[in-house]
């Protein structure tokens, strides 16, 4: 009995992270360097790189000491940051994934916009130095940068060159259109080199969000939510429906194989079970390490009868948000660190090591100059695709509140379509209905 009460009690406690403040001690040391906390979600090799960046910054000056703290997954980091803010122990810098952007922008005095921070602290800063397709995601309607892009990626096609050869396909020519993807998949499966033609990671990000931007089609009204919280989704449009009908059909025929949400489909490609995968450009290093075959990269395919396609792809990943409620002296250090992080050397190194995009033109140029793209063929695809055309209102990115839950709604709809439980139209209609309900809720909560 008691045990059960405790269990229930513990559960209740779990539900209320709000009052359970972090025990982090933020002593404003008078004598030592001023400490700046950076909460991030980079584990493994990426986490080590983050530590290296912090060490680099700390040895470059003596006034501030940057302390990076890994807080688990993206969602966990964000929840921890929010709980910390409510108890007044928030870090200075918090890494937030792109789907959390809408919530962060509505955070009012909980955050300090980056452009404002730079102005207030007198740190030299020019937003034109940053790749516009990256910063477009993190600016307000007036073009002011609200957060500092850190790890941005965009999805590309990876294909198994050896399987292509076995199927009699040109290993240097990835498919350009969806018709070609279908034809290639048939050949690949027929040759017996693979079990299915292709799969996709991050189903909503790839097959709805990027798919629409790439075809210069909006996924919602109000410029994909950039121009107001009263936006509504339009992903039940004929183009997305047609694409999902095709995917469901291909799943049935064994040309497409659904591999789960997030990066779960990776294993299908690296194990050689499928010949092609659509995945984040940041998956390059991982693919290099886990595939024991040669692979190539290509841009996302498009339907060639759609006007305006291909346009440009949009980003995913995370950016750094500066939290409110700290002293001016500490903010000086934060600004200095963000400037250090944007320097061409640090950025180029981060980009080349991880496969994330360089966020400044200078870092891109530096990587070119260093011959990185020649030495590592396939690594430039993402950049070329991102910058293929100037972004339009449809391909600038998206800004919707509650997007963590909305992406779950989209993923669920896709799963019900791919499994044949619902037709593409039914599934996407339902996704629009539920998605709009979440948008309305966000609108009501944040007015």
């Amino acid at each position: 009995m008691r045990k059960r009460l405790l269990l229930a009690g513990a559960l209740m406690l779990c539900l209320l992270p709000l009052f359970a403040g972090g025990s982090q001690e933020q002593v404003s040391a008078q004598d030592g360097p001023i400490e700046i906390f950076w909460w991030h979600a980079m584990g493994g090799k990426l986490g080590e790189k983050v530590d290296a960046i912090a060490a680099g910054f700390n040895s470059s000056q003596a006034v501030y000491k940057l302390i990076p703290v890994n807080k688990g997954s993206y969602a966990e980091t964000m929840t921890a940051g929010i709980a910390a803010f409510r108890s007044g122990t928030q870090p200075h810098i918090m890494q937030v994934f792109e789907v959390g952007t809408g919530s962060m922008m509505a955070a009012g005095k909980a955050i300090v916009p980056v452009y404002e921070l730079m102005k207030r602290t007198g740190q030299a800063f020019n937003s034109a130095d940053y790749l516009s397709t990256v910063t477009g995601y993190y600016t307000d309607p007036k073009g002011n940068m609200l957060s500092m892009p850190f790890n941005s990626s965009t999805p590309i096609l990876y294909y198994n060159k050896e399987a292509f050869k076995a199927a009699g396909l040109d290993p240097e020519r990835p498919p350009k259109t969806w018709a070609e993807v279908e034809a290639y998949s048939k050949k690949l499966v027929a040759s017996g080199a693979v079990k299915a033609g292709f799969t996709t990671a991050w189903p909503s990000w790839l097959m709805i969000e990027n798919f629409s931007a790439w075809h210069d089609t909006p996924i919602g009204t109000k410029s994909n939510g950039f121009e107001g919280k009263d936006a509504e989704f339009t992903i039940n449009n004929p183009l997305v429906v047609r694409h999902h009908e095709n995917l469901a059909q291909w799943q049935k025929e064994g040309l497409f194989r659904y591999g789960g949400r997030q990066g779960n489909a990776d294993a299908l490609f690296s194990s050689g079970e499928v010949g092609m995968i659509f995945n984040s450009s940041a998956g390059y290093a991982g693919a290099k390490a886990s595939c024991d075959f040669e692979f190539g990269t290509g841009m996302l395919p498009y339907y060639d009868d759609v006007k305006g396609a291909p346009r440009n792809s949009i980003i995913g990943g995370a950016s750094l948000w500066v939290m409110g409620g700290h002293s001016e002296g500490e903010y000086k250090g934060v600004a200095q660190f963000l400037a250090y992080l944007s320097s061409p050397e640090v950025q180029a190194d981060w980009h080349q090591f991880t496969g994330y995009l360089p966020i400044t033109y200078a870092a891109y140029d530096l990587s070119k100059k260093q011959g990185f793209y020649q030495k590592n063929p396939g690594t430039e695809t993402a950049l070329l695709q991102m910058t293929l055309n100037a972004p339009t209102a449809n391909s600038k990115g998206l800004r919707f509140g509650n997007f963590v839950q909305i992406r779950d709604v989209f993923n669920s709809a896709q799963e019900s379509i791919f499994s044949g439980e619902k037709s593409a139209q039914e599934g996407l209609d339902e996704a629009v209905r539920q998605g709009n309900a979440l948008l309305r809720k966000f609108e009501a909560d944040n007015t």
């Binding site: 559960l11 209740m12 409510r86 779950d408 499994s419 909560d445 944040n446």
Partner: protein, 294 residues
Amino acid sequence: MVSKQIVFKQKLLPYLLILPEAVIILVFFFWPASQAVLQSFFREDPWGLSKQFVGIANYLTLFSDEGYLKVILTTLYLSSVVTVFSLLGGLVFAWLVFSLPKKHGSMYQTLVIWPYAVAPATAGVVWLFLFNPRVGIAALVLEYFNVDWNYVLNGSQALLLVSLAASWKRISYNFLFFLAGFMSIPRSLVESAVVDGAGRLMVFRKVILPLLNPVITFLLTMNLLYSVFDTFGTIHQLTQGGPNHATETLVYKVFSDGFLGLDLGGSSAQSVVIMTAVIIITVIQFKFTQRKVV
């Protein structure tokens, strides 16, 4: 039987003795539970910058949501499957071990209890490796028999997998109680039944099972509560509630709406609903077992 009443001489001592317990219950149950109840009547942005009293709107939203009904059904399905599987499994193993000579029995006893020591999340990982459509050994076997195994997309397969993984761990717990139950049955009863010409199955059905009744009642409630609450780790490891919410239980939804969706009011309302259900189940169980379980 007349019980001897023990009277403390100091008036303060009994209160002091229950103080730690009371503090723990207050801090870890009453306080957070009251916060959850309070929170469930508000709509709030995650940062706590604006808070709005909405009455029972959170509850209305919850109960007008078809998805929530589906979650309740999933929870009921999962808990019945887990309870049946793990009770039957525990009973069979206990009977087999009990029938063995003591020398071998104790070895099997240890082996069967082992899985109980495995944390739910770890159990999830073990089953993940077994049944992963790519690399799992069990998945390979299924493929050999032409079963299209892909629980990432097939909801009923996902639910079955979660049920099996959750039951597996629970079998050990039930086994322990059943074995103890068997051992407490007087040998003489079994022997006299055998003398009367009852076969093994007859003895089991007519003598042992009725005597095990209190144990079964107790385990039924315990397993039910286990399958509602402790399956979280297994689900989190295996399916994260997917595909298309096929394995989302009440508790998992509280987590995903509250932690991932940052909808504090809505997830508080859900947890109040669960709390009410648990209180009802516990009261019923209490009424039952007060008389029957020793």
